[in-house]
């Protein structure tokens, strides 16, 4: 028990209340030493013969060896997907497709704890998030699109939707399983088959998902999972697919768009962001501070729609910053598998380097940095939650996406100025508005150039709600009927010039 300090004639006040470690057990995950590619319903050795090691970023410990898919492997996977499409999947009754999607959703729910632990282990995010956000949402996406699979004519009345064929999908490392669900569910619901490449640093939940597909008895070849670094992704982009769906950095997104120009392949891109979280002086302050914290420290800031710029009305600047700094001292940074951890590990050495570089730039440019006292573990990739005040719009930390737990604070005076500053960025993925005034929420929503706008909340997702960006945050939407559309072609579209 903690020691009590005596204080005169007052009842002793404790000197500390340490929460005992509350680790979620790793036992539930059966890691293999070495994985194969999931092609044609089986785990197969890569033709390239190459493997690489994937790590646990919290300990820098190796977890397993996974294949580096070479051009032949990609070609085989695409051919397999095409065969599966031609020989059964495209002609299968829609209710059959729905059946498999429902099964997958159900199995994910049943194996939820296992996948949550694996996601935290391989990616670094707190178990509380993978358990309470990633897994439930992933299952929800499969349930949602299972419902649409046999109702496409109702989703697009009079447009006679048809599947495209084979979709190549490339996903990032920040929400590995969830991004997989966002991609695979609508593709399958539309009647397509898939070759999916998870991110280099987070292949494991995607590979274990292959096991879920076998459990669901999904016809072999309908979904294929190929692992590897950027080279595998590039090969997939160039391969004989009808569609590419990419979520990742703006830079790579642009490269893909250039590569696909003139090929007739369809493309959707979900790229980066530098979202403004806008706090007006009539906002519910304590809750707004929670919203700020959730906006940028959730998932260590590895979120494309993160509220990385705080735009606070100047008249309440001081109280908000005071409350924010105080709130940061109660954030618990540590072992992702501890149920009490709020902020986990940075996903990779590479990302940590990038964060450190931009934070150094911020300091050089003259911004003021605040970090709460934090005991960071010795091994692993860690960065303390950070706030920069005195930030000018032109600083790199206000313009470039840091993709880490780093917040830049700017002020505004009027709603017009808030809109101006919020929109003054090449990105346009998301924004947050905090005010008690309903009319102002609607007014701001009309003017903000962001694909997703949250009012008095942040980072809320639902499979029925379309997600995607304006400007350099990409094009196309995921979720809702809008998320189905990119995976379909519409007969008679020529007649309407579409």
């Amino acid at each position: 028990m903690s020691e009590l300090e005596q204080r005169g004639d007052r009842t002793p006040i404790p000197s500390a209340w340490e929460y005992a470690p509350a680790p979620e057990s790793r036992e539930i995950v059966e890691l293999r030493e070495r994985y194969g590619l999931f092609v044609g319903g089986e785990f197969v050795e890569p033709r390239s013969g190459e493997y690489y090691t994937t790590l646990d970023p919290a300990q820098e410990e190796p977890l397993a060896e996974v294949p580096q898919a070479g051009p032949d492997d990609i070609r085989l996977a695409v051919e397999t997907a095409r065969e599966a499409y031609d020989n059964g999947w495209s002609a299968a009754p829609a209710a059959e497709r729905a059946k498999y999607l429902f099964r997958i959703a159900r199995i994910l729910q049943e194996r939820s704890r296992e996948f949550a632990v694996l996601e935290s282990l391989n990616g670094g995010k707190p178990i509380r998030e993978s358990r309470d956000v990633d897994l439930p949402l992933a299952a929800a996406h499969f349930f949602y699109y299972a419902g649409w699979a046999d109702k496409l004519e109702y989703a697009f009345p009079n447009r006679r939707p048809r599947p495209l064929g084979v979709a190549g999908q490339i996903i990032p490392w920040n929400f590995p399983l969830l991004m997989l669900a966002w991609k695979i569910a609508p593709a399958l619901a539309g009647g397509n088959t898939v070759v999916l490449k998870p991110a280099e640093t987070t292949p494991l939940t995607a590979l274990h998902f292959g096991d879920v597909l076998r459990q669901a008895e999904l016809p072999p070849g309908v979904v294929n999972i190929v692992t590897g670094d950027g080279r595998a992704g590039a090969a997939l982009v160039k391969s004989d697919v009808e569609k590419i769906a990419f979520t990742g950095s703006t830079e790579v997104g642009k490269a893909i768009q250039r590569e696909l120009a003139g090929t007739g392949k369809k493309l959707t891109l979900e790229l980066g962001g530098k979202a403004a979280n806008i706090i007006f002086d009539d906002a519910a302050l304590d809750q707004a501070v929670e919203g700020i914290v959730n906006g940028i420290y959730f998932n260590q800031g590895h979120v494309c729609c993160a509220g990385s710029r705080l735009l606070v009305q100047e008249s309440i600047y001081e109280p908000v910053i005071e409350k924010l700094k105080r709130r940061l001292t109660t954030l618990r940074v540590g072992d992702p598998l501890d149920k009490n951890t709020d902020v986990g590990a940075i996903n990779s050495r590479q990302q940590l380097d990038k964060i450190e570089e931009l934070v150094a730039a911020g300091k050089n440019e003259g911004a003021e940095i605040y970090q709460p006292p934090c005991r960071l573990p010795e091994k692993g990739y860690w960065f303390a939650p950070t706030v920069f005040t005195n930030v000018a719009q032109s600083y790199r930390i206000a313009q470039e996406e840091i993709f880490g737990p780093v917040l830049s604070v700017l002020t505004f005076r009027t709603p017009d100025e808030a809109v101006e500053k919020a929109n003054n960025t090449p990105y346009g993925l998301s924004a947050g508005v905090w005010t008690e005034k309903g009319s102002r929420i609607l007014w701001m929503a009309e003017r903000l150039q962001a694909g997703v706008i949250w009012a008095n909340t942040y980072n809320r997702f639902d499979p029925a709600s379309p997600f995607g960006g304006y400007k350099e945050s990409g094009f196309g939407r995921e979720g809702g009927r809008h998320g189905l559309e990119p995976y379909l072609e519409f007969e008679g579209a020529e007649a309407f010039g579409g």
Binding site: I13, W17, Y19, Q287
Partner: protein, 322 residues
């Protein structure tokens, strides 16, 4: 001094800023402020998911006992019943002498003297309700007189109720003045002000009532009388703790908080303590600034302590009812 005949001002006045809260000269946060319901409930839920085990849990359970106001507020209370309660308050678990006494017993005015006799010489305080508890629907002068009387009878602490009728009718100045008068009458005993959150309707109102009670001199703000079905939920507790935090940050004054009613088991009490810990910090983790108003909670806490210490759950038969 306001007339003791009660108030005849017209209803639904603009809310008066209570004295003691001057209009700030520099641009500062709007003092009263608002609370977002969805967000505060989400925050309370998040905090309730903290995993508190082993030593951390024992620490919390021990605190919970030391912070308890063991309560009986029934028409059928007798000196005998109160004597038994007081004995339990002093020595909650006869088989474990390491379990501390609770903070106080809380009773109706007529039972103050028997309670006082029973706890004499121990550290346990006697708290009495007053001011036409639980409704508060009585003329001000009578309520003030009742408060004065229970202090004369020996109560160390007075738990008053605010006039919710006046509050909901917008007559905040009346609510405020009443608290000021009761505080004066209760001196030197300390004053807890019961807001009866279940009747206030919104979190915004809970925050306003909290700030108003504090401005009027409350030593503690308390959620409920325990006589309504809806009482101390985690979000409501959080709203009150945040109001207390704002007052402390701006003035340095520390006000205590007491959730009453609705906390029936040890788990809920630990969750509440997590809320206090992460909102107000260690300084509030003391019976001087935090109490649980409870009756059945104590036995569940004792059972959990026994389980943490021995590794096994004991049957409820082994814990005395009082």
């Amino acid at each position: 001094m306001p007339s003791s005949e009660g108030y005849t001002q017209p209803m639904a006045q603009a809310p008066a800023l209570p004295t003691g809260f001057e209009l700030p000269l520099e641009p500062r946060l709007p003092r009263i402020g608002a609370v977002d319901q969805v967000a505060v409930e989400a925050r309370a839920t998040d905090l309730s998911r903290r995993s508190i085990k082993r030593e951390a849990k024992l620490f919390a359970l021990d605190l919970a006992v030391r912070m308890m106001d063991l309560t009986t507020l029934e028409g059928a209370d007798t000196p005998g019943k109160v004597a038994a309660l007081a004995s339990k308050a002093i020595r909650p678990d006869p088989s474990d002498s390491s379990i501390p006494s609770v903070a106080a017993v809380c009773v109706y005015p007529n039972l103050v003297q028997p309670a006082k006799e029973r706890v004499a010489g121990t550290g346990v305080k006697v708290a009495s309700v007053a001011t036409a508890f639980p409704s508060g629907q009585s003329p001000t002068d009578l309520k003030v007189a009742e408060a004065r009387r229970v202090v004369e009878l020996g109560a160390d602490e007075v738990d008053m109720v605010i006039d919710r009728g006046a509050f909901l009718a917008g007559r905040y100045a009346k609510v405020y003045d009443e608290i000021v008068q009761v505080k004066e009458a209760a001196h030197p005993s300390h004053l807890k002000v019961i807001l009866e959150v279940g009747e206030l309707g919104t979190y915004d109102n809970v925050r306003r009532a909290s700030l108003l009670a504090i401005a009027a001199g409350a030593d503690f703000i308390k959620t409920s009388t325990g006589k309504l079905s809806s009482s101390a939920t985690l979000p409501v507790t959080l709203v009150m703790l945040e109001a207390i935090r704002d007052v402390f940050e701006e003035t340095g004054r520390r006000v205590g908080m007491k959730p009453a009613g609705g906390i029936r088991n040890a788990k809920q009490s630990v969750q509440t303590l997590v809320l206090v810990h992460e909102t107000l910090g260690l300084d509030w983790l003391t019976p001087d600034l935090f109490r649980f108003g409870a009756s059945s909670l104590l036995n569940d806490v004792l059972m959990q302590i026994r389980k943490e210490k021995t590794g096994r759950y004991q049957s409820p038969e082994y814990f005395t009812l009082d």
